[in-house]
Each structure stands twice: as C-alpha cells, then as structure tokens.
C-alpha cells in the first residue's frame, strides 16, 4: 500500500496551496501595504498595524463578549451534555437530533427570529406590558435590542450546539469501569466528578470552547442584527473595510491578520494547558 499511492495526495497538496496558503499570503501582502491614492500602486508599509491602537476597544469588546458567550455556553452546555449522557439510548438519540436540527436552518434565520422578539415593540416587550411589568417599572419598554446583552444572547443561541456536541460525545464514551473503580476506592459523587469525569471530559470542553469562541469573536451578522450596528466587533470592522461603507481592504486585511494570530495563539496556549492537565490526571 505504501509508496505506490503517494501521488494521490499531490492534487490535494496543490489544492491546499492554492486555496488555503496562497490566499493567506495575499492577505498578508495587503496587510503590509497601502494603495497610493494617485498612482494606485501598492506601497509597502507598516501603517496598517501601527494605527491599530485606535481599534483597541473593538478588540477588547469582541474578546470580552466572546468570552462571556463561551462561558454561558459552557455553563448551559456542560450540564446538558452530562445529563443527556446518563439517559437511555432512545432519549439520547432524540435529544441529539433535536440539537442538530436547528443547525440545518441557516443561522441567519435563527438570528432573525430573535430580532422580532427583542424589539422595543417586539414580542417580549408586549408580553411584559401585558403582565404589567412595564407599568410596575414605570417605563415604556425595556431596551433589549442594540445592547451587548442581545449580542451575547444571539451568540449563545447560535453556537450552543457547538458546545454540547463535542462534550456529549466525550462523556458518552467514558469508560464506566473507571467510575466504578473510583467509587470502589472510596470517592463520593462530587469527588468522582471532580477527579475523574471532569478531567476526562476536558478534550470535549476544549474543542467546544474553540468551536464557540472563534465564530463568536469574529461575527458580524449577529452584532449587526441584534446589536443595531452599535456594538462594533472585529467582524464588523473587517466587513466595513471590504463590503461596507469605508472601503480600505489593506486595513481590513491587517485587522483580519491580527485577529487570526491572536486567536491561534489563544488556542495553542489553551490546548497546551489542557493537554498538560489531561496527562497529569492520567499519570
């Protein structure tokens, strides 16, 4: 089998070079240059990066909101996965199907459904008005749309399945005899969870965190629709430079580069930290 089919990989290597590596190189070229307004030639420069301090607050907001969304997803997703794994097979299958199902509707449809709920005159405010809560508070409406909370809600709603699925698939494969052994050796419930189940489910948590954090930190549709365009995030900043109202692909590419690097560094650090933990537990 060896040797004679190595060439199978050649088209793939060419493909990857063409559609993965070269595009990133081109993006880097854009990031390190500007267009001369008169001759429209590309001039090499570092200006796109040195001026980025002005967008520090966008970076901070994006990371902050994404961290909150990821934590909320984890706080909801972990117990759900854990308890789901304890149910019977039929329940599990149904639950899995129900979690996957919304993903087959496009995420914009799901975000759109929240718009009509959170509006000032939307369903939730109408409900509050009907039960007299608004009169009680003496306000005309509760401001929900256009707030950071609405953006976080949109992220949690859209990406929660990405947290549940990997954690669940790790927990459901846990070796039952390990838990028995732990109990036999005298560990009580919480201790079994802390010392055995939780450490063993770390790989699932890590991949869930990655799958929620990365799309959250870079979103622009959610912040646009639910944040009213006021909660500018990194995704919005990039979109604005390419297809939005302030055309400057060089700056957009630079922001995308920085975001890419920061995210990769975060992931690498987190995975290293996670692996160390896991090994320590096993040893």
């Amino acid at each position: 089998m060896r040797n004679n089919r190595g060439w199978f990989a050649v088209p793939y290597v060419v493909w990857m070079a063409l559609f993965v590596v070269i595009p990133i190189v081109i993006m880097a070229v854009y990031a390190f240059s500007i267009t001369d307004p008169i001759t429209s030639a590309a001039l090499p420069t570092l200006d796109n990066f040195t001026g980025m301090g002005a967008y520090l607050s966008v970076f901070l907001r994006s990371f902050w909101l994404a961290v909150i969304a990821t934590l909320v997803c984890l706080l909801i997703g972990y117990p759900v996965s854990y308890w789901m794994a304890k149910e019977g097979p039929r329940f599990q299958r149904l639950a899995m199907a129900l979690i996957m199902l919304p993903m087959w509707m496009n995420f914009l449809l799901r975000t759109y459904s929240w718009m009509s709920i959170l509006e000032n005159n939307g369903l939730l405010n109408q409900f509050f008005r009907a039960i007299g809560l608004l009169d009680l508070l003496g306000v005309d409406h509760l401001q929900m749309i256009g707030t950071p909370g609405a953006v976080v809600l949109g992220m949690v709603y859209n990406y929660l399945p990405f947290m549940i699925l990997p954690i669940y698939s790790v927990i459901v494969k846990l070796d039952g005899s390990l838990l028995e052994a732990a109990r036999d050796l005298g560990a009580d419930g919480p201790r079994v969870f802390r010392k055995v189940i939780f450490p063993l489910s770390l790989p699932g948590i890590l991949s869930g965190v990655t799958m929620v954090f990365v799309p959250s930190v870079s979103t622009f549709a959610i912040s646009n629709l639910l944040g009213g365009g006021k909660q500018m995030m990194l995704g919005d900043l990039i979109e604005l430079q390419f297809l939005g109202g302030a055309y400057n692909p060089h700056l957009g590419a630079a922001v995308a580069m920085v975001m890419m690097v920061v995210v990769v560094v975060c992931m690498v650090v987190m995975n290293h930290f996670g692996e160390g933990e896991e090994q320590a537990v096993i040893m």
Binding site: N4, M27, A221
Partner: protein, 669 residues
C-alpha cells in the same frame, strides 16, 4: 441515580430545548399571520406562502443554496476521500505536516477564510485579465474572456475548499483503523488495485465517508460569511438574501421559507429515526438483524454479475448530473441578461417583469445598502453590474476614477422627457454619463406620539430626551451632513475643523446613548412599528412608511429650519459593462413616462420625467378614485422654495473622504 435528581436534570434539558425552539416556533407561527408584522397577530392566512412561491429573488436564492451545498458536498467528498487515501500512503512526518495545513480552514474564523479567498480570487482575475489580453493580442484563433468576476463558480470553489478538510478529518480515522494487510492480501489474490479499492477499502471507510459528507453538507448549508465574501454581486444564497432583507423591511415570506426548510429537515429526521427504531425492534426480535434496504442494494450491486451494470449506472448517473447542471447554467447563460444594482425598496417590481416580457432580456436585480457600500462592492471586484443608480456625489467620484462609461443617448429617446432642471447638474455637467432616476430631499422623520410638540431642527437627532429612540442613518455622508447643517456649516465643507466639530456632536450623542442604532432601510420597520421615535431619511421613504404605519403611530416629515440635502439618483453604466446594449434598453424603459408613473406610485420618490411628474396627481385620482393630498405631493416633489433651502452634495476631495471614513469607523469604536 436518584429519581429526584433525574427530574431536575430533565427539567434543565427541557428548558434548554425550550430556549432553542421557542424562537423557531414563533417564526413558524408568524408565517401564518395575516398582517405583515412579525410581532402583532392579525389572524390566520396562507398569503405569505403564496407570496413566497411568487418571490423570484427568494426562490432563486433557495435554488442556489441547495445547488452549491449539494455540488460542493459531492465534489469535496470524492476529493477528500481520494486525498485521505493519498495522505495515508505518505510517511508519518509528511502526513502530519500536511494535516496541520488541513486544520487551517477549520481553525480560522470564517471571516478570515472569506476575506483571504476574496482577495485571492480578485488577484487571480487581475492576473488573468492581463494574460488574456496578451493572449488575445498574439493570436486570433481562441478568444479568452478578459473580465472575470466573483460569482457562483468562485463561491463553489470556496465551499469545496472549506468542506474538504471536514471530509478528510472523518475519513482519516477509518483509514487508520483499517488493517493495511487487507489490501495487500486482496492484491496478492489477484485483485487489481481498482478492485481492491472498491471491494476492500471503500466498504471499510464508508461510515467515515458518509459522516464526512453529512458534516460537509451541514457546514455548507449553514454558511453565510464565506459565501458573502466570495459570491460577488450576481449570486445570492438564501442566507445572503435574508441578510440583505434584514437591512430593509422584512416580510413574513422569510418566516414562510424558514418554516418550509425546518419542516423538511424535521421530516427527514423523523423518517430516519423511525427507520432506526424499526431496525432496533427487529434486532430485539430476531437477535440477528437482516440487512437493510440500502445494504441489500449495495450488496447486490457489488456482486460480480452487476459489475458492468454498476459501472454503467455510475457513469450514467454522473452524466445525467453533469448534463443537468450544464443545461441549467447554459440556459441561464444563453439568455440575454442585464445586471442592475439599485437600492432597497426602490422599484415597482412589476416593471422588471414587464421589461422581461417585452424584450426577452432577463433582469438580474440586486440592491446595495448605501452609496459607500456600492463603492466598496465595485472596488473589491465583486460586482459585474451593468447599470447602477448612485447618487450625485458618488457619480462624481466614480467619474473621477474613470469607472463609468458614456451613454449612447440615440438609444435612449426617453431622455428627452427629463426635466431640464435635472440635466447637466454639477456631477455630470455635459450630461454624457447619466439619466436621472429619482430626486428628492432628506429630512427629519418623527413619530408625533413619541416626541414633545413639533420638531423642526436637526438638533432632535442629538437630544438626550429621546435617548434610545433615535436612529442614526448608517452612512457617513448623510450622518455628518445633518450634523454639519445643524452647526450652520455647508454639507460640502472641506474644513477639517468643521467636520470634526460635526463628528463631535454625533459621537457625544452616541456616548450619551441617544442612538438606538445605525440603520439604513431597517428604518422602515423601526419607524412604522413605533420602535423608534426619530430618524433622518428620504422623503419618498417617509411616504412609504406613512402607508404602513401601525396603530398608535403618527409619522411626520419636516425639512428642518437649518435646511437639508436634496439629491438626484441617476442611472449610469459601468466601464466595460458586459451587456451594454441591454443596459441602454433598460435605461430607456425605466425613463419612460409609464414606468416613472408606476415607480412614483410604488416607491413615492419624485420622478425627473416632466410628463410623469405633472400627470401624477391626476393619475392617482384615476387609479384610486380619491384626490392626492397636495401636502403629500409637496413632500414627494419639493417645490422650488423648499429646494432653495436645500443643498446638493458635491464630491469631496480624497483627503476629506479619507477623513470621513476614518471618523466613521471611529464612531463604531
């Protein structure tokens, strides 16, 4: 586990599902709403489903979505399987190195993948253009197309590119588990490699291929961001269509299409579950489960007797598939087309059908959000429009950069009917490039039930009393224009201090939480539904809102005392437009008196066509049997004394434009 804790856990799981499904349920309920609100129930109806099937834009985008998902899944599954087998014949070191690269598209944020692919395609097109020009110059046997643009092809490539890694990720573990001696054994026993592949490798890794394909399909159908950056202007997936709709008035047709999608996926899942449960029961009864229908089929098909039939069948299926795709795309190509880009809610859509029926030219009608967004689209190389409808100052800017083509007025006899007031304006002094489409003013719109007294100053936009209820217009020129007027400066000032002063006014209001959001066409839904009190927008759109305002909403329009902006939007043709002749026909058709009357009635923007403008009140009376309110007519077609108080935007020098861009981004920060 104790019973009590199980109840608690089930409640928690149940609540999570409620959270996941309640919004979808509401979406479905409101697809049956008789009114066009997605928050107020007005009785049951199926109207939106009927409207959906007649809505060509949504149906086309649904078709595009399914086609790109299915095609990219099929191609990526085949290519990914092939590549995975290749990877496992390499040494471990090389394989691991390649797998790291394989991870990049999965690790990267979608927006980074989208942006980098977009830049890549555009760079490639530029290189290709230069090559094709040279190639066409040195020989005349083959004519290569010089101008390539983003479209369905590039989007398909992008989808394949992000799907392949998922397929590899799913196939690789199965290959790892497979006993390598099996293939050697098969070959020792006389199998050719092809036979070994079909009979040994494929059955072993089939589960991996199936789950890889499934994930690829899910990713493809759920994608918005990568399509958004690589599809260009003329192709739209359902998600892109919805995104552009959310910036305008969303109609419950979107709810209807969501409901249909949801129900079809639900049906698939239920069918699958029922099948599995049946199998399980059978297993319970017989211990040994008989082969399922599909396994039976595949077993039979893989028996030697069926070999030729199988190959023939595969080949035939592939041919039919390719032929169908070729036919569909070919049909779309052979028909004459004109690509038009305009603004949202800016045409009576019946006109498109009328034009198509009369000329046989298919109109590919797209919309952009604002002049600035249109400019970005054009610059990023994503657009292959023929006709665009920018505003005055943007026309000057496009002309300055040599992006417009001269019009052939001999093919546009209806230009004669354009009022001299709207010819030879500063943006096109010799009138060689433009035919006016509409004109109007931008004033202050407010809900009289949500503010104190009557408003007549731009200052209301920055008034802390209306915190959370003001909508800021989402483009730098109009937003800063209103602030400049309020401060008593010209909208065309190039004085940096004045512009910064205007910006300070806006950013200060923003800090105080005055603005509910930055919107363009979302303004319709917000103002009509009483979700916001004050906005600055265009006169014609105010009249549309007036038509649709909800109970308890009392919308007013005023040209503030400080003055306002008046604008002309005109049809232009882009340089090297691929469908120049069709574009002339379209422009002439739209400039006709009948089309102008229909448009005026539908979008409420004033027409530059003298006949249409004069005849409209009489036409309205004949059509609706009631007199047109002269006050409304004056709002639509501002009389001379109002226009005198208004200023037209002129193109700003590049430094000032850069300042506008810089400040505009800073506002979001």
């Amino acid at each position: 586990m104790k019973r009590s804790s199980r109840v608690g856990s089930r409640i928690f799981i149940g609540l999570t599902f409620l959270f996941l499904y309640l919004p979808i349920l509401l979406l479905i309920v409101f697809s049956f709403n008789a009114g066009d609100s997605s928050a107020v129930w007005r009785g049951f109806s199926l109207d939106w489903y009927k409207a959906l099937f007649q809505n060509r834009l949504i149906m086309e985008s649904l078709y595009t979505t399914l086609l790109v998902s299915l095609l990219s899944t099929a191609i990526a599954t085949a290519a990914g399987t092939f590549a995975a087998i290749g990877l496992y014949s390499l040494s471990k070191r090389r394989r691991d190195a390649l797998l790291v690269v394989n991870d990049i598209p999965m690790m990267n944020a979608d927006i980074v993948t989208g942006v980098s692919l977009c830049l890549f395609f555009v760079a490639f097109f530029q290189g290709w253009g230069a090559f094709a020009q040279w190639f066409n110059g040195v020989q005349s046997a083959v004519e290569l197309p010089v101008r390539l643009t983003l479209g369905f092809g590039t989007m398909l490539l992008a989808h394949i590119a992000f799907n392949i890694p998922y397929v590899i990720l799913n196939v690789a573990p199965k290959l790892r588990q497979m006993d390598k001696n099996l293939v050697d054994a098969a070959q020792d026993l006389g199998c050719t490699w092809m036979q070994a592949f079909w009979k040994v490798i494929l059955p072993e890794i089939k589960p991996g291929i199936v789950s890889g394909a499934l994930i690829a399909f899910t990713m493809s159908i759920d994608d918005f961001v990568i399509s958004y950056f690589t599809a260009g202007s003329s192709t739209s997936t359902l998600a892109m269509r919805i995104y552009s709709m959310t910036k305008k008035r969303i109609t419950p047709e979107v709810n209807a299409v969501s409901t249909l999608l949801f129900l079809s996926v639900l049906a698939l899942l239920v069918l699958n579950n029922v099948r599995e449960i049946r199998q399980e029961r059978r297993t319970d009864r017989q211990e040994l489960r008989g082969p399922s229908f599909f396994e039976n089929l595949s077993m039979r098909l893989s028996s030697p007797a069926w070999k030729w039939a199988r190959r023939g069948g595969l080949a035939a299926a592939a041919c039919v598939f390719v032929a169908a795709v070729a036919l569909l795309t070919g049909a779309a190509w052979s028909q004459p087309v004109v690509n038009v880009c305009s603004w949202g809610e800016y045409i009576d859509e019946d006109l498109i059908t009328q034009f198509e029926d009369a000329t046989g030219i298919r109109v590919n009608y797209q919309t952009a959000e604002s002049n600035e967004a249109l400019y970005s689209l054009l610059k990023s190389g994503g657009a292959d429009y023929d006709v665009i409808v920018p505003s005055d100052y943007m026309i000057s800017q496009l002309l300055e950069e040599g992006m417009l083509e001269e019009l052939d007025y001999s093919q546009i006899p209806n230009f004669e009917k354009i009022d001299p007031r709207f010819r030879n304006l500063p943006y096109d002094p010799e009138n060689k490039y433009t035919v006016p489409y509409t004109w109007g003013t931008m004033g202050l719109i407010y809900n009289a039930n949500m503010v104190d007294g009557e408003l007549d100053s731009w200052g209301a936009l920055y008034d802390g009393r209306y915190a959370g209820s003001v909508l800021l217009i989402n483009n730098s020129r109009d937003a800063l224009g209103a602030a400049l007027l309020h401060l008593g400066h010209s909208v065309n000032t190039t004085d940096e201090a004045e512009i910064r002063e205007a910006f300070a006014l806006i950013s200060d209001a923003s800090r105080r939480g005055v603005f509910q959001g930055k919107v363009m066409d979302q303004v319709f839904q917000k103002m009509e539904g009483g979700n916001a009190a004050i906005a600055s927008y265009y006169a014609g759109d105010y009249l549309s809102m007036l038509d649709n305002q909800a109970d308890g909403v009392d919308l007013r329009y005023v040209i503030p005392e400080e003055g306002a902006n008046w604008f002309v939007d005109a049809m232009c043709v882009l340089k090297d437009a691929p469908h120049y002749g069709e574009a002339m026909q379209w422009i002439n058709f739209i400039a006709s008196t009948e089309a102008n009357l229909a448009n005026m009635d539908y979008i409420w923007y004033a027409s530059p066509n003298t006949e249409a403008l004069e005849r409209y009140p009489a036409w309205y009376e004949a059509e609706y049997g009631e007199e047109l309110d002269p006050e409304l007519y004056e709002i639509m077609a501002a009389p001379a004394e109002v226009l005198e108080r208004c200023e037209m935007y002129l193109v700003l020098p590049p430094e000032t434009r850069a300042l506008y861009n810089e400040l505009w981004i800073e506002l979001g920060v």
